[in-house]
């Protein structure tokens, strides 16, 4: 157990810190771009879904980044601990950071007299983690984080253009009073994580 904690601490320090910093910058920019005080139920969903969700891309896409350097990858594979365990550790704490960012932001909105509930937190978080999962998956499968960023950013942009054409996978549905899509997003996230690990494992064999 202590080994895994050590891995998490080292990874946090060397790999995740800059990305976490960038996610915090995005979170700090959100109230500048969107109002967060005295918003009704639907208006409250906008900053969470339309901007804060970008933190998902920043936090989850670089999970495979260190091993994309061949030297590091070869070194990690010589160790006793499975590299998939390391990916998993990074994924878990990245998701936790994402949840913390959404949690703190929702509480701040609540203090600013906006009509936010736990549903806003889970709905916004579902959009953020879905965007992040797309980046995570493409970065992992192609072995290149830039492709991960590109795909997740393009999907984000598509949400402004295609809107309801994306059906259950429309990221901003809560801003239009619909929460059902969030269950689909959450289910898809679990599937994406699983499929990504399976594909990477298969490709390695």
């Amino acid at each position: 157990m202590s080994n895994y904690l050590k891995i998490a601490a080292v990874n946090l320090k060397h790999n995740t810190a800059p990305h976490l910093l960038l996610a915090i910058v995005i979170a700090l920019l959100t109230p500048v771009i969107f109002g967060i005080s005295s918003l009704n139920e639907q208006e409250s969903a906008q900053p969470l879904e339309m901007f804060l969700s970008l933190t998902g891309i920043v936090l989850l896409t670089p999970v495979f980044l260190p091993e994309q350097n061949e030297n590091i990858r070869d070194l990690v594979r010589t160790k006793q601990i499975d590299d998939f365990a390391i990916y998993f550790i990074r994924l878990v704490y990245s998701v936790l950071f994402l949840a913390v960012i959404f949690g703190i932001f929702t509480i701040i909105m609540h203090h600013c007299e906006s009509d936010v509930t736990i549903q806003h937190f889970t709905g916004g978080f579902a959009s953020g983690i879905f965007l992040g999962a797309l980046g995570f998956s493409f970065a992992g499968i192609t072995g290149n984080s830039i492709i991960g960023y590109m795909i997740s950013m393009m999907y984000y942009i598509c949400n402004f253009m295609l809107k309801e054409d994306l059906h259950h996978w429309y990221l901003f549905s809560m801003s239009f009073g619909n929460f059902e899509g969030k269950y689909w997003l959450s289910g898809s996230v679990a599937a994406i994580f699983l499929i990504t690990f399976v594909i990477i494992r298969k490709c390695r064999k």
């Binding site: 990305h19 350097n69 830039i146």
Partner: protein, 415 residues
């Protein structure tokens, strides 16, 4: 030849394939989707021809003042400072300043505003029988001073907008659209249609729509391709090898840049040809300008590709790919959000130009000198940025510049 080698490298890269898929996807879901049917000619006797924003002081002044008084009494102001809704609540100090402006505009004293407690907003409310009924609301009586000129009114509204925090309904960009809309007549609608056919020769209008949609994508997509290629050299540890070559830094960087822009133009050219074929298919008997889409795409979209690629190359060279994506993404987001209107909102430094309408030939023509300046400005800026990239590259080659940020920091732990 280096140029062809670079082009080949880009054309056969995975990122370029994804770039093409996204671009074609955008073309088919956005532009082609809007070209299913020809634009209908207006006919006499239609119930509605739409409305048009027209600066008519007699309409604008009373309705804007009423809007401002109403928002003041409600204590909340709607604003879109970055294109997204923001509910603004003023501090006491600012409220006092705004009350003074309202007094000048409406003759309502600060005391009346302070003590008025029967405020009701105007709008639709549910009647007893369940139907929607429009109510006028309840605000103090407005008496616009006869000495108030239109220029004074606009100046006071500008001050009010500044107090609210910009992007309000009373800003120069929004006041006409919000408070001075008049219904279009049959003649207005017909004249617009005639312009669409004769002045624009149909394809001119579709060219603007094509560039509007593709410009959204092409203002951000190239940064990913540029970063991918720059990072690939780092990843495969080719940097040192490239540094040791005879070729000058300027020649290498400019060749890479030109090949990037050139290859990324190929799918744009294909979609432009597809767009022409699509328009031809829905207007088979009309006279069309064959080259309108290509011409418009050339001056509208090439600067977008140039800037986005230049930012990608420059920021990756001095810091890292992630920062380059973040910088370009932030610029793209700010530019898209700043366009309060989808037509007629092009300014000297608007990066993502919008004109999301087949009509509005006049509006576009009026913006023409701005557009020429705008596109030339961005083209020149991108060349300057690439020049700086070459300077940084040369410094790195000589070992006098070494900034590593957001790079794979695990190299430290590796040792």
């Amino acid at each position: 030849m280096l140029f062809f080698k670079e082009c080949k490298k880009i054309l056969f890269s995975l990122i370029f394939v994804i770039y093409c898929i996204v671009l074609f996807g955008f073309y088919f879901t956005q532009f082609a989707n809007d070209c299913e049917f020809p634009l209908e000619k207006p006919h006499e006797g239609q119930t509605d021809y739409g409305t048009i924003a027209k600066e008519v002081p007699e309409i604008m002044m009373p309705s804007a003042i009423e809007g401002l008084v109403s928002e003041y009494l409600s204590g909340e102001f709607s604003a879109y400072p970055y294109g997204f809704y923001k509910c603004v609540k003023l501090k006491e100090k600012d409220k006092k300043k705004l009350a003074e402006i309202i007094t000048e505009l409406s003759g309502i004293s600060a005391e009346t505003l302070e003590n008025f407690d029967h405020y009701e907003p105007s709008g639709y409310v549910m009647g007893d029988d369940g139907s929607l009924v429009y109510t006028d609301g309840n605000i103090p009586e407005i008496n616009i001073p006869p000495t108030l000129t239109y220029d004074d009114f606009r100046e006071l509204m500008r001050k009010a907008d500044k107090i609210i925090g910009c992007g309000s309904k009373y800003s120069d960009d929004n006041i006409v659209g919000n408070f001075s809309r008049i219904p279009k007549t049959y003649e207005d609608a017909l004249a617009e249609y005639e312009q669409f056919c004769k002045e624009d020769k149909i394809t001119g209008a579709y060219a603007r729509l094509f560039c509007d949609y593709m410009g959204i994508d092409l203002s951000i997509l190239p940064v990913f391709v540029a970063v991918f290629l720059a990072e690939r050299d780092k990843k495969s540890r080719m940097e040192q090898l490239v540094y040791s070559r005879k070729i000058s830094s300027a020649r290498l960087i400019f060749t890479r840049y030109i090949s990037l822009v050139f290859t990324m133009l190929i799918p744009v050219l294909i979609t432009a040809l597809l767009a022409y074929a699509k328009v031809k298919s829905i207007y088979p008997d009309n006279e069309l300008d064959k080259f309108a889409i290509l011409k418009t795409a050339a001056y509208w979209l090439i600067p977008n590709i140039m800037v986005s690629s230049a930012v990608g190359m420059f920021v990756t060279e001095i810091t890292s790919g992630l920062i380059a994506i973040f910088v370009q993404g932030a610029w793209w987001f700010a530019s898209i959000s700043a366009s309060s209107e989808l037509t007629g909102s092009i300014r000297n430094f608007t990066f993502v130009m919008r004109h999301n309408s087949l009509l509005g030939y006049d509006i576009f023509q009026n913006e023409r000198h701005i557009i020429v300046f705008n596109r030339l400005f961005f083209a020149v800026i991108s060349v300057i940025v690439i020049l700086l990239t070459a300077v940084i590259f040369e410094m790195k080659r000589r070992g006098v510049f070494n900034v590593k940020l957001f790079e794979n920091r695990s190299r430290k732990s590796e040792t």
